[in-house]
Symmetry: C2
Subunit: 117 residues, 2 copies
């Protein structure tokens, strides 16, 4: 019974989006801060470049998962993004789906003859 179609490229794209959304879970942040936080929380594993980050932020905003507002309080202009309700639901739902996919992936990769450690 073939469930929803799996697409490896969409999977990679989802991972990037979810990393950004998860960085906004605790509080609103601007782009530069998001990159630093993800890099810090993943011990340097996940590192976004500018050319990768901003297109994704714009895409997420267009999809209504985050909302960006310009803040010019100090003088340096920053665009601060916050999770919308839709974004928060998307984050928890898709995170569960990613966990499901990777657990099934690892099971296939390890094979049936591998006893669990």
């Amino acid at each position: 019974m073939p469930e929803d179609d799996f697409d490896i490229q969409g999977f990679a794209r989802d991972i990037n989006e979810l990393l950004i959304l998860s960085a906004l879970r605790s509080e609103p942040k601007h782009g530069y801060q998001i990159v630093l936080d993800i890099e810090n929380e993943s011990n340097g594993l996940f590192r976004f470049r500018h050319g990768t980050l901003y297109p994704i932020l714009h895409r997420l905003e267009k999809e209504g998962l985050i909302r960006g507002t310009w803040s010019k309080d100090v003088g340096r202009k920053k665009k601060v993004y916050s999770l919308t309700g839709k974004g928060r639901r998307h984050l928890s739902g898709e995170t569960g789906r990613v966990e499901d996919v990777v657990s099934r992936l690892v099971r296939v990769l390890r094979g049936p003859d591998q006893a669990p450690a």
Copy 2:
């Protein structure tokens, strides 16, 4: 301490390659059979199309991870691929790396305030 650079596109490509390599772990198979077995073992989750499978097989062969030989015993020509020693080492090593990455990914996605179930 930033370890090896992570690349989401390379990660997706690696997953596809590892799925194919893992299908050859037990015995040599031809392309068509590989697709059926992966689809079967993943309960229909991972499904390779022709246009995806064969370029990857050629790539893996060129890298020396698999070796393909034409068999014409019955008449219908099949190219049967078998894991090389290098391929077998690559499979187990990279599977471990994928497991490491996904576990760290899930940890970041779930966040620090999430208690383990």
